[in-house]
C-alpha cells in the first residue's frame, strides 16, 4: 500500500497538471509514482523533469537508454520500474527476447546485442554493484563507443533509475491496474531476490492472483 495518497491528475495544481500531461506523452497514462510525487509539487516536478529529459532522444537515443534502465532496475529488484519499462521498451522496438537476455550476463553472448550495447550494459552492472571499482577495461570499451556527453547521460540515467526505484519501493507505490496479470519478462528469467519484489510479483503480476 502506498505510504502517501495518490494525488488526482484532475484536481492537481497547475505545476503538477503539466507534469501529468508530460507523463501521459511518455507512458500513455498518468502514473502512480507521479501521483505520489504530487504530494510535494515543488520537489516532485523537479524530480520528474530528470526522467522526462532521459526519456527522449538526447546525446544517446531513448531506445538505447532503455537498456540501461531495464538492467539497472532489474538489478535493483524494482518490479514497478521493470514492468513499466518492459512495456515502454517493447513499444520502442526492443523485443521480449532481447529484453530477457539482459538478465545476468546473457547479453554478453546474446545475438540480440551489439558490442556498443554490451559495453553500456557492462558499465551499468558495475555502476549498480560498485561504482568506485569500475574496471579499466570496462571504461575503455565504453569510451570506444560513447563520448563524454553520452557517458554523462548514461551514468545519470543509471543513477536516476536507482533513485526512482528506491523512491517507489520505499513509498509503496503500486503497479497500475492495467499491468495486473501481465507476465514479467525479466523476472520470469530470474526471480526477484528481495522480499518486497517477490511480494509485488505474487500480488500483481502472477496470473494465479487474478483467476
Amino acid at each position: 500500500m502506498a505510504q502517501l495518497p495518490y494525488t488526482d491528475p484532475e484536481t492537481a495544481d497547475p505545476v503538477m497538471k503539466a507534469v501529468f500531461e508530460d507523463t501521459v506523452k511518455r507512458f500513455q497514462m498518468p502514473l502512480n509514482i507521479v501521483s505520489v510525487m504530487g504530494n510535494a509539487p515543488e520537489i516532485g516536478s523537479k524530480m520528474i523533469q530528470i526522467y522526462f529529459d532521459i526519456l527522449q532522444d538526447g546525446a544517446i537515443d531513448w531506445t538505447t537508454k532503455e537498456l540501461a534502465i531495464l538492467k539497472s532496475t532489474k538489478m535493483g529488484d524494482c518490479l514497478y520500474c521493470v514492468t513499466q519499462h518492459e512495456v515502454v521498451s517493447e513499444r520502442l522496438g526492443i523485443s521480449p527476447e532481447k529484453q530477457a537476455d539482459i538478465v545476468g550476463l546473457q547479453y554478453q553472448v546474446s545475438p540480440h546485442y551489439t558490442d556498443r550495447e554490451r559495453a553500456l550494459l557492462d558499465l551499468t552492472g558495475q555502476v549498480v554493484l560498485d561504482p568506485e571499482q569500475i574496471d579499466v577495461e570496462t571504461w575503455a570499451n565504453v569510451r570506444k563507443h560513447f563520448n563524454d556527453a553520452q557517458i554523462v547521460e548514461l551514468v545519470a540515467t543509471i543513477g536516476a533509475y536507482l533513485q526512482i526505484s528506491k523512491f517507489g519501493d520505499a513509498m509503496g507505490v503500486e503497479l497500475e491496474p492495467v499491468f495486473h496479470g501481465r507476465p514479467s519478462v525479466l523476472f520470469a528469467k530470474e526471480p526477484p531476490k528481495s522480499a518486497a519484489a517477490a511480494r509485488h510479483l505474487e500480488h500483481h503480476l502472477a496470473p494465479a492472483a487474478h483467476q
Binding site: 520537489i43 530528470i50 529529459d53 553520452q150 557517458i151 554523462v152 547521460e153 545519470a156
Partner: protein, 67 residues
C-alpha cells in the same frame, strides 16, 4: 580522476551559464559534480535544479534533510 572532463565556466555552453550561477549561489562554488554534468547541458540543468530544490527550505528545514 574524473571519468569525464570537468567543464570550466568559461568553456561551458551558454545554455548552462545560469545553471552554473544557480549552483554557485546555492553551494558557494560550482561543485565538480555540476562541472561533470555540464558535458550534457540538458541533464546538468534538471539534475542541478532538483538538487537545489531538494536542499531548499520550502518543504522542510535544511537541518532535518542533512541530519
Amino acid at each position: 580522476m574524473a571519468a569525464v572532463h570537468l567543464i570550466e565556466r568559461e568553456e561551458a555552453e551558454a545554455g548552462v551559464a545560469d545553471v552554473f550561477e544557480a549552483a554557485e549561489r546555492h553551494f558557494g562554488q560550482v561543485p565538480n559534480l555540476v562541472r561533470a554534468l555540464a558535458n550534457n547541458p540538458t541533464l546538468c540543468r534538471s539534475i542541478t535544479e532538483f538538487m537545489i530544490a531538494g536542499l531548499a527550505q520550502a518543504v522542510s528545514t535544511g537541518a532535518s534533510k542533512s541530519s
